[in-house]
């Protein structure tokens, strides 16, 4: 069957060009098979870190293998690959200048993949945008913000600027600032506020809640109340505990700190 196929191809193509064509096709087929095997192997290695992690490395390896196989196949067909590659080099330089930012994004994407400051599903803050990471692609990182907007951030920006990963660790601290009047008995305040933490099921017993004077302001003392929670509980604790603290202070008769100004009548002093 093979000989009949060769004979048939001999009729169609110039003499002597059949075997190189067969070789080239075999090389291309082997290249594609190898690329597929490499994709599977990389998928298995990165699969345990999430369904989309390693997607860019997978693409890059696949392109490299397919590209090498294509160049080899062209060489088998009699093309002068050296000339082609030389021309490609010139084109690459020209395109490189034209696509500087694209390349920068590409390299930043690769560095981000290597450094792994965040993964898909993490909640990050970049350039005043906070959201869940949907994808880390070669050129950009995609976020879904909490008000359900889709944000595309070029990898160059993500790589250069400060990135805060708020879900990296399993527990987080919630900080609440409580302004209280100077007349307030702080020793009396402490058990009232700590009791709120003890009764809230989302507050961790340890690390223990903290309550301390943060700073003295013109007409009030600013207290900081810090409690720890499991990271997924952060938002619900933040919303509930402020209401609970306010309710507990009101129930205990603790007056809120109101802005005040003291007027001194100098005349009456001199009279």
């Amino acid at each position: 069957m093979e000989s009949s196929l060769t004979a048939h191809l001999d009729d169609l193509l110039p003499s002597g060009s059949v075997m190189p064509l067969v070789h080239a096709l075999v090389i291309l087929a082997l290249g594609l098979l190898l690329a597929r095997a490499a994709r599977r192997a990389i998928g298995r290695v990165f699969g345990r870190h999430g369904p989309r992690s390693g997607a860019n490395i997978l693409r890059l390896v696949s392109w490299l293998i397919t590209g090498t196989a294509s160049v080899w196949a062209l060489e088998e067909l009699g093309f002068n690959v050296g000339v082609l590659l030389g021309a490609a080099g010139v084109v690459t330089v020209a395109v490189g200048f034209a696509a500087q930012s694209t390349l920068s994004n590409l390299l930043s994407g690769l560095f981000l993949l290597a450094e792994r400051p965040f993964s898909i599903g993490d909640v990050i803050e970049v350039e005043k945008e906070t959201g869940e990471v949907l994808a880390i692609d070669l050129l950009s990182t995609k976020l879904r913000t909490f008000d359900n907007r889709y944000v595309r951030i070029p990898n160059e920006v993500t790589f250069k600027t400060k990135v805060i990963n708020t879900t990296r660790f399993p527990i987080r601290r919630v900080d609440i600032f409580l302004p209280v009047a100077y007349e307030t008995d702080l020793a009396r305040l402490r058990p009232i506020i700590l009791e709120v933490a003890a009764l809230n099921p989302r507050c961790l017993a340890e690390p223990s809640p903290l309550l301390f004077v943060s700073r003295f302001e013109d007409s009030r003392v600013l207290m900081q109340f810090s409690v720890w929670c499991a990271t997924p509980d952060y938002l619900s604790l933040l919303t509930t505990i402020q209401e609970e603290v306010t309710a507990a202070l009101t129930a205990a008769g603790v007056q809120p700190a109101l802005p005040r100004r003291v007027l001194v009548d100098q005349r009456s002093k001199h009279d």
Partner: protein
Amino acid sequence: MTASFQVGPLRLTVEHHGGEWRLIRTFDGDDTVVRVEVPAPERALEAGAVISRHGTSHSDDRLSLTPVLPDRPVVTRPEHPVSVPPRDAATIYVGSPLWVRVAHRSPPITLEDLPCMAPLTTWWGPDTTTGELCYATRTFGRLDERQIVFHPHRVITAVRIENRADAPLLFERLYLPVGQLSVLADEEHRLWTEDVTLEHVAGEEAELTLGDARDGFQRLTGPRNAAPHRLFRAFGSLFR
């Protein structure tokens, strides 16, 4: 069908209407009471009550409540730090919060596992970046079995701490992987687990060995996860 159960602080009302099981729970019960009422007394829905609903295609209204241990490890904080001298051993009695497994049909199909007291969560780890979430419990940490105060919503474990190190072992926290333990009942229907031995050699780690159930004890439920005995961080000081 309605029924009401109380196990210490947990007050649970179960209602079965056609294809639905409805569980209504609060944690405002008396610490010492265990009560079952069928049918459940008429009572208005209390503030703070948590309701969970389970749909089913089965009309079988058989219900079972089984004592189980919590679904996370328990970190016990004795009232005062405990010290075990070098090359010595001590037995400390710690109480873990009891949970109940609510199941329907026969053989039982679990509807839900419920804590018998409001669960208190804590962090167990060397720092805030590595560790695991556990349940926290306070205990007197009695060293004399005769002084144990039993509550219906607590399961007692006798933990023998063997200090094989050349330095005293001082701890303020004790980590107990209760998922590896069973719930047992003694002749007076008080709840226990198997005795546990924690062998301490160095640092804060210990190796856990499970003892056999004592004579006369009845096994009510087996362990949640039958993991092999392992070395883990069992002792800790105050988290700072």
